[in-house]
């Protein structure tokens, strides 16, 4: 059965696009059929992070407006066969993204792929609500700082009230992905503690991705970090997170710690 997953945050620049590419690549490497979908109309980035920017001919809006077929707009990844990207339009207006159009595209993608991963734009406006609307699963990307946590809380509220599942009275599965976690700053107490973030947001933890120069290097290469350097710490953290998405039980590692209190917390389903 196919799953639609939205990667969202409210706050900008926290690592949504990076995480979309990395989780998408990790799931595809595990043999799943995956498409990553860019919802950031006018500020598209996913194509660059995926190294597909020179191969974009048609985009989602062309498909919505009937100027291209979905199969023409999908770009197959050159490194992992089961990974595709559906780019956003860089030139069109956000309003070209109609909710009927999005619904149709998502329905068609569901038929072709095991995982449809939607990279949400920042904010809580139309683009973000459209990106989350059809999701079965949400990954809420959060940095360990107060403003990011509050914005994530806001987004969780929208996920629980505005999405298709919510309006049908069903639950949307939510996971917290803590990114740009800096062990040195954590040790100094400069960042919010993981347990405090978990307590405030009260959703289960999917993984903790360390701050790492590898991420920037990979994105400049146009390669998701899990493909550019699979052994790097952020890559392993993303790979573990992807396995958890597939339902596997994987012990939680905290960057900079050998073992952690989190294994007790992981999987705990809080209210």
């Amino acid at each position: 059965m196919s799953k639609v997953l939205v990667v969202t945050s409210g706050k900008g620049g926290v690592g949504k696009t990076t995480s979309t590419a990395a989780l998408g690549a990790a799931l595809a490497k595990a043999g799943k059929n995956v498409v990553v979908v860019d919802f950031d109309v006018g500020l598209r980035n996913l194509d660059i992070v995926m190294g597909a920017e020179r191969r974009v001919v048609f985009d989602m809006i062309n498909v919505i407006q009937g100027d291209a077929k979905l199969s023409q707009a999908l770009i197959r990844d050159k490194r992992v066969e089961t990974l595709s990207i559906l780019p956003a339009s860089q030139t069109r207006d956000k309003d070209a993204l109609t909710s009927e159009g999005v619904e149709k595209v998502i329905a068609e993608l569901r038929e072709k792929f095991d995982w449809v991963i939607c990279d949400s734009p920042a904010g809580i406006e139309r683009g973000a609500t459209l990106a989350m609307h059809h999701a079965d699963v949400a990954v809420i990307v959060t940095n360990p700082e107060v403003s990011s946590v509050r914005d994530s809380d806001r987004i969780i509220g929208l996920l629980d009230s505005k999405t298709e599942r919510a309006t049908k009275g069903e639950r949307i599965e939510k996971h917290l992905l803590l990114t740009r976690y800096d062990p040195v700053r954590a040790a100094r107490g400069d960042m919010l503690k993981t347990e405090d973030v978990l307590e405030i947001l009260s959703i289960p933890l999917l993984g903790i991705i360390p701050e790492s120069a590898e991420v920037l290097r990979a994105s400049n290469l146009g390669t998701p970090v899990v493909l550019a350097n699979p052994d790097a710490a952020p890559s392993r953290a993303y790979a573990d997170a992807a396995r958890r998405l597939m339902g596997e039980q994987v012990p939680m590692t905290v960057p900079g710690e050998k073992t952690g209190f989190l294994n007790k917390l992981f999987g705990r389903r809080v209210a």
Binding site: D153, G157, L158, E199, S202, A271
Partner: protein, 213 residues
């Protein structure tokens, strides 16, 4: 901390919209400190001078204005322009729940979900119990008392329909604002109770907080 109303020009039609909103959410402005942002209104708007009287006559408690350069008499009448305010994002005034015919109305409501930032829970009919936390930037309002079995980080507004007996209870206080029957207390005034289990009630014209064990 206060809510900011941002009128659009022309003021006359904005006031009409406001009336329609008040119609739908009768208790929304009750006891709520309001700042008016005039940056969208040209000085030439004929209704500017009387704006604050219009707002007052609708029971809206204006504590200041912003987005104005000069001190017009109208702005002075509400205490002058505010500076150093911090925008907290747009807020949609929630509509009152539609009137339901027949069957006696329930007088209490229990929620088993945490209240998230940006959400407003309004229960003018009686007591409101939240079995979870109330996030920073969230707001819960009740005609009666409020009970929070979790951390209260946002705002809790009890007795919105004019109930002096209303109280606020919470397992852990970290609130941005609490208010009972129009009186309110902001975070700074509650510092000594931060992190504690408390109840808040009215005594005369002040809010009294006591620790509960």
């Amino acid at each position: 901390m206060a809510f900011v109303l941002s009128p659009d020009a022309p003021l006359r039609s904005w006031l009409a919209e406001l009336d329609a909103q008040i119609e739908r959410s009768a208790t929304f402005f009750a006891g709520r400190p309001i700042v008016v942002d005039l940056s969208g209104i040209p000085d030439s708007d004929p209704d500017l001078e009387t704006l604050f009287d219009e707002l007052r006559s609708r029971g809206i408690r204006v504590i200041g204005a912003e987005g104005v350069d000069g001190l017009t008499p109208a702005v002075q009448s509400v205490g002058g322009p505010l500076i150093g305010g911090r925008p907290l994002g747009l807020y949609e005034v929630p509509d009152d729940p539609p009137d339901e015919p027949a069957a006696p109305e329930p007088t209490s409501m229990v929620l088993d979900e945490p209240v998230r930032s940006g959400q407003t829970i309004l229960f003018p009919q009686g007591d409101l119990t939240i079995n979870g936390s109330v996030a920073s930037g969230a707001e819960i309002m009740a005609g009666g008392s409020i009970h929070v079995y979790g951390v209260l980080r946002g705002r809790a507004i009890a007795g919105v329909t004019g109930n002096q007996q209303a109280r606020i209870f919470c397992k852990k206080l970290d609130a941005e604002l609490i208010s009972i029957d129009g009186l309110y207390m902001t975070a700074e005034d509650m510092d000594s109770f931060r992190g504690k289990s408390i109840q808040a009630r009215l005594e005369g014209s002040s809010i009294i907080i006591t620790e509960i064990s």
